[in-house]
């Protein structure tokens, strides 16, 4: 099962748990399934059908440009980090 590292500020939803797992083949599916274990986490990550403004998903340490549609595999680790832009 893909692993998800819960951002510090969402660990209040997971009862303090930082490392969790969920089923799914895309970031969106992962979040949907995670929301069943930890109700409310979806709405903290997703707004208007997209990742919350300023947030990016990283799969296996690579920030994805596909957002919620990014594919994940069984051994993947997914993280949520601030989106960055440069000067």
């Amino acid at each position: 099962m893909p692993k998800i590292i819960i951002p510090s500020q969402l660990r209040e939803v997971t009862g303090g748990e930082a490392n969790v797992s969920a089923q799914g083949s895309t970031v969106l599916e992962l979040i949907e399934n995670l929301d069943e274990q930890y109700p409310g986490i979806r709405d903290r990550l997703i707004e208007d059908g997209k990742l919350r403004m300023g947030l990016a998903a990283a799969v296996d340490n690579e920030v994805s440009s596909y957002g919620l549609k990014q594919k994940v595999s069984e051994g993947s680790t997914v993280q949520f980090i601030p989106a960055i832009s440069g000067g």
């Binding site: 903290r44 990550l45 997209k50 832009s85 440069g86 000067g87």
Partner: protein, 769 residues
């Protein structure tokens, strides 16, 4: 078909073109003054626009009366935010990230409230720029003046006046009950911070305060817009991203992006500050209103007071360390000025603050804080310099405490491949340690320090670099030269660095490639020039398109020889038949035969790459402090950086030198100076002091090349990293010179003198320490 990358090296590095130093493609235009900038544009029957700006830092607009201005000589139109078309959207997608439409609009033309001195309120179009300016003075605005919020600590204090009454602090999707000037709170946490500090032998806890600074590009913002009767809008402007101009303008004016053609003019510096639009939608509205082209250019005070600064900040750093110098835990809190609307780069500061170190237990908090100052924009490694000033001076303190050389201490704790950063991501192959080793063995670091009040400082810094989306088109001319059509505004020599990558692939000379940056109608979608991404990401598009060209050229050769395409092999610019060694043709000759083998040859590539290589730099600086005046003179400066692979080493050196110089300015000269009413008192280049050539030594550079595995040539972005270490390096050098730690930026002569007098107990009575 075999690739051309394994050709004979002329540079001793396995490449023919990569790593050489051809003359820049835009050189002649620039040195002869013929390059066309936005202000050079002269359209017939063009009107001139001017903006009325708020004289107050914080006020409610009670009424606006434009009638007298409208009746003034030469005036053709006056607009305010009431003239914005209605829209349902809340968020607009700018390609490289979304933005809040309401904020974008209100920043361009104030809506109900003015939030900083210089905040645009209305705009006038008139037959000449002086008449337009005179007319702005005839717009009558009634204000209810409010107390301005000028410092982060005041903005965050209980009971502070609010900039936006409806703004609540967002903590990753959870909103605060009460409205606040803090738009966002973010937190990173890895390991167990309490455990980490419990393991420490000593804990260092320090606080820093840095001033708002400006990118200081020489060319002021400008825009000319022509809204045609057929509904098509053309915009010429100075921008880091023509497609971003299109997206922002389309969003603000609620028109389709496809109805806009954005033409990027030559650009006189951007450094992140020319990503947002300020004038384009206004010029467009004035053009729509009048049916004529409208040109707008800013004066320098407008640039300072209402565009681009990067945030001032308040940063707290706490680091725990073992006696042997091993860091056990690091905790930081960063509060950054967003300006009048949310969106400071505090997130980037949080990700960068401890980025050079492998620390098991880390916690970082970040606050995006609104103040009555211009909305901040990106500035070269946005947010990272402030953060590095804080962490890298504490690292220097720790090295002294542990009796370790500052480079040794850094090596002991250095991040390497696999190290997990505070935000949770692990590094791929990085070259941080290599920059430390390069500095350690450099002659500068070994040179004796002579003379009193002289000191040496070292600091390191990190920047991510970005990927984003790029497109290019490559077409072959009959004479064997190649046109490279791209959409990445050239602010750092990228026409040449892209042309060189194409030349390397095709086995031709860099001079035979003609690169050009074109408008949004003429090339596929391309994100901004920013995040040090162009040589990397647009470079990948160039490589892909170049390979397609090579493949098609091989097919044409096959056709010429009436052999199967698989029979053709390529070495550099020579195409050969494997089966018949008498058949061989050069790229140039083949180009002359395009017509007889199927006509024009043009290939396109669009990319959205991963594999961005982050970059590290380590800087060494020597200073001398005048003990009587507090003046700091930079004596010597050496900057080492992991550049992945330097495509054009002169440009890479230039980027490093430029970044170091901007960092030096930030460290000891520059800063927004406000009076208590919130008016900037140094909105000009005389009093906003940027370093001149007379203030600087030669900046020596060391190019460390640890190839980025995500790019075939190993390219890493290089433009932003070098602005990260200088402030801390200078603070550490000043400490070495006078034995006093300065924790406020700028460390200008006033501050240094005050610190020196305080140390001597000679601070005059009544002077705040």
């Amino acid at each position: 078909m075999s690739g051309s990358n394994n050709g004979n090296s002329q540079n001793g590095n396995g490449y023919r073109i990569i790593g050489s130093r051809p003359v820049r493609h835009d050189g002649v235009d620039k040195v002869t003054g013929r390059a066309l900038y936005g202000a050079d544009l002269r359209l017939s029957d063009c009107l001139h626009g001017k903006v009325l700006r708020s004289p107050h830092a914080h006020a409610r607009i009670l009424s606006i009366d434009t009638s007298e201005a409208l009746a003034s000589p030469g005036v053709k139109a006056v607009i305010t935010s009431a003239d914005y078309p209605e829209t349902e959207s809340k968020i607009i997608d700018l390609g490289e990230g979304p933005a809040i439409l309401k904020d974008l609009r209100a920043n361009l033309l104030a809506d109900g409230k003015v939030l900083y001195k210089g905040h645009p309120i209305a705009a006038v179009a008139a037959t000449d720029p002086f008449l337009a300016r005179e007319a702005t003075k005839k717009i009558k605005v009634e204000y209810e003046v409010l107390k301005p919020v000028l410092h982060i600590n005041d903005a965050m204090a209980e009971g502070s006046p609010l900039l936006h009454e409806d703004l609540h602090t967002d903590s990753l999707g959870k909103k605060s009950d009460k409205p606040s000037n803090v738009a966002k709170h973010l937190r990173f946490e890895i390991g167990d911070i309490d455990k980490g500090f419990a393991e420490a032998d000593e804990i260092f806890e320090r606080e820093f305060d840095t001033a708002m600074v400006h990118q200081g590009y020489i060319e002021p913002h400008n825009a000319t817009a022509l809204w045609n009767a057929d509904g098509h809008l053309t915009i010429w402007s100075s921008t880091q991203g023509a497609f971003s101009v299109r997206a922002q303008t389309a969003g603000i004016l609620n028109i389709p992006e496809s109805s806009i053609k954005a033409v990027p003019m030559e650009i006189g510096g951007g450094f992140g500050g020319k990503i947002p639009v300020y004038l384009e939608p206004i010029a467009a509205m004035l053009s729509k209103e009048t049916g004529k082209a409208v040109k707008m250019t800013m004066d320098r005070d407008e640039v300072f007071e209402s565009t681009g600064p990067t945030p001032g900040s308040v940063i707290k750093v706490k680091i725990g360390v073992k006696k042997n110098g091993k860091i056990t835990a690091a905790d930081a809190s960063l509060a950054y000025e967003a300006g009048a609307f949310q969106g400071s780069p505090v997130n980037c500061g949080m990700m960068c603050i401890f980025a050079p170190y492998d620390i098991e237990h880390v916690r970082v908090d970040g606050y995006d804080v609104l103040v009555n100052k211009p909305k901040t924009a990106a500035y070269r490694a946005p947010g990272a310099t402030n953060a590095s000033m804080a962490s890298e001076t504490v690292i220097d303190e720790i090295a002294r405490w542990a009796s370790l050389d500052p480079i040794e201490l850094r090596k002991l704790n250095a991040a390497k491949e696999g190290t997990v950063r505070a935000d949770g991501l692990a590094y791929p192959r990085i070259g941080y340690v290599e920059t430390l080793e390069a500095c350690e063995s450099h002659e500068h670091y070994k040179a004796p320090k002579e003379g009193s009040f002289r000191g040496r400082g070292v600091a390191s810094g990190f920047w991510f670099n970005c990927g984003f989306k790029s497109s290019v088109t490559v077409s072959v001319e009959k004479d064997g030269t190649v046109r490279l059509i791209e959409g990445s505004t050239d602010i750092g020599g990228t026409r040449t660095s892209l042309a060189m990558q194409l030349a390397e692939i095709l086995g031709i000379e860099a001079e035979d490639v003609r690169p050009m940056v074109v408008d949004t109608d003429s090339v596929g979608y391309t994100d901004i020039t920013g995040g040090s991404r162009v040589t990397f990401a647009t470079g990948l598009a160039v490589i892909e398109a170049g390979k397609k060209v090579q493949q098609e050229m091989a097919r044409r050769a096959a056709q010429l020889w009436e052999v199967d395409a698989s029979d053709v092999e390529v070495e550099l610019d020579v195409y050969r038949s494997k089966s018949d060694s008498s058949k061989s043709i050069t790229f140039k000759e083949l180009a002359g035969s395009l017509d007889e083998t199927g006509g024009a040859l043009s290939e396109q590539a669009s990319v959205s790459p991963q594999g961005v290589g982050g970059g590290f730099g380590t800087h060494i600086v020597d200073v001398e402090v005048d003990p009587d005046t507090g003046k700091v003179q930079v004596l010597r400066y050496t900057a080492a950086q992991d550049v992945g692979k330097a495509i054009h080493p002169s440009y890479v050196e230039g980027q490093i030198q430029g970044g170091a110089v901007q960092g030096i300015g930030w460290a000891i000269y520059e800063g927004y100076h406000y009076n208590e009413d919130g008016h900037m008192t140094n909105a000009n280049f005389l009093d906003y002091r940027m370093p001149t050539t007379l203030d600087l030594p030669m900046i020596d550079t060391i190019l460390v090349e640890v190839p980025n595995p995500g790019h075939p040539f190993g390219v890493r972005g290089v433009g932003e990293v070098p602005i990260v270490p200088p402030c801390a390096a200078l603070a550490n050098a000043i400490y070495d010179a006078i034995g006093i730690r300065l924790r406020e930026l700028p460390m200008n002569s006033t501050r240094v003198l005050k610190a020196l007098l305080k140390e001597k107990g000679a601070l005059p009575q009544g002077v705040e320490a």
